[in-house]
Amino acid sequence: MARIALVTGAGSGIGEATARTLAAAGWHVVVCDRNADGAEKTAAAIRGSGGSAEAVELDITNIPATQAAARELSARHRLIEAVVANAGISGDGVAFEAVTEQAYDAMMAVNVKGHFFLLQALVPAMKQTGRGSIVVMSSMFALIGHTSMAHYTAAKGGLLALSKALAAELGPAGIRVNAVAPGLIRTPMTEKNTGGDEAVFVQRAARIPLRRLATMQDVADTVAYLVSPASAAITGQTLSPSGGEAFTD
């Protein structure tokens, strides 16, 4: 019987690539997204490739609904063994002084608060079976800083710290928690931010040791490793698919 993985924000971008990669590795993937069409498109693509997936419309900023959905999924699947806390919104190109309270709250609501309470609802089932692997999608910028994204960086840093706290607290229950901190990745979200300006991506790649931006697939492969048995002794750690731009730790 396939093991179950849940990915948030899997309707597009890194989440979609991660969902597809996990499905190709044999996981049954619960594809979650606040955009129902996006989630269904990813799930259908997985099934079309011979994989196993189901789509779930999930807005993790709605805490009661998310926790109820998480409990229902846990009950139905007995154990959701891997969780990829990937859903997020961008906050690029916003000067610190220009960040509104509303923008700040929205950033924290998705990245940190939403995942905090989603994981809280999924962990009891993991504890019962003594098995689980959680990966949070942080950002290289939470490690090395960056201009004009203070609220984004703060949120991604919060996720990173949460992964370490959970690693310490849930480790004895057999649950591993790690973080992936990607560098700049070309995704629908980041392409929108640059307004389709190729030069931004090209210039950044030219400065990276491996001379290319990490791709969505690189990020997905890193996640897949962290939820696999190959990383069984690894918890509380951060891997940064970034072409070498950030040397973690």
């Binding site: 590795a25 492969d221 890193t222 990383s231």
Partner: protein, 246 residues
Amino acid sequence: MVERNAGHAGRVAIITGGTGEIGRAVAARLLDFRVRVHVLDINTPGDRSDRYAPVFHTVDVTNERRVEAVFDDIARDEGGIDYLIYCAGIFRPCAVIDLTRDELARTIAINLSGAFLCCRAAIRVMRTRRFGRIVLLSSLIARVGTVNGAHYAASKGGLLGLARSLALEVEEEGIRINTVSPGVVDTAMPRAHSSDEKLAEVGRAIPLQRIARVDDVAEACLFLLDEDSASLTGQDLSVNGGAVLW
């Protein structure tokens, strides 16, 4: 488990300290994938399993001429070198006050300078084919330190700086260099200094409730050698069960 390892078959790997427990575990995994494995060690190998059939070379990694000669021989005989995994290392606990200059020099020479010599020899070959993967075995101790181990910590910490600098120096040459930092691993090394009970106690204090096994460390090395880590270079992968979370 994701394994895109079809590319390993036929590649050439050099493992230093390859008769040690971690080196043997890495060798065994690579042999599973039909990699041509060359083991460099100052010791002769002990019992060999059927699967453990690498080419063995007696090498003192602190001997610059010997290192250069062996890397040249392997590159010539095999047509190239694809992977270098540096597992050679010693640790004789000793308080700083009592540390002799010889002991300090020996620790740095084997744990760090030898890595420098082997990386240099490997990179010379790897850059001609624009392909290479290097994994250096550092240690948790490099970051957290340990009493009676300042010399060891310094040598292992040096590997982190070495790996990051090399990662930058081989930009554009198709070579990735990373480190693996194990915590306590269940091998002869900690067992030489700690009782079974002490090691069990150490395990219980770790979030994942156990010390690492050699297979855990070998798997981390394999990840850094294969294409699933294609965008990782200059990185340190800590295998410590959550013993240290920073």
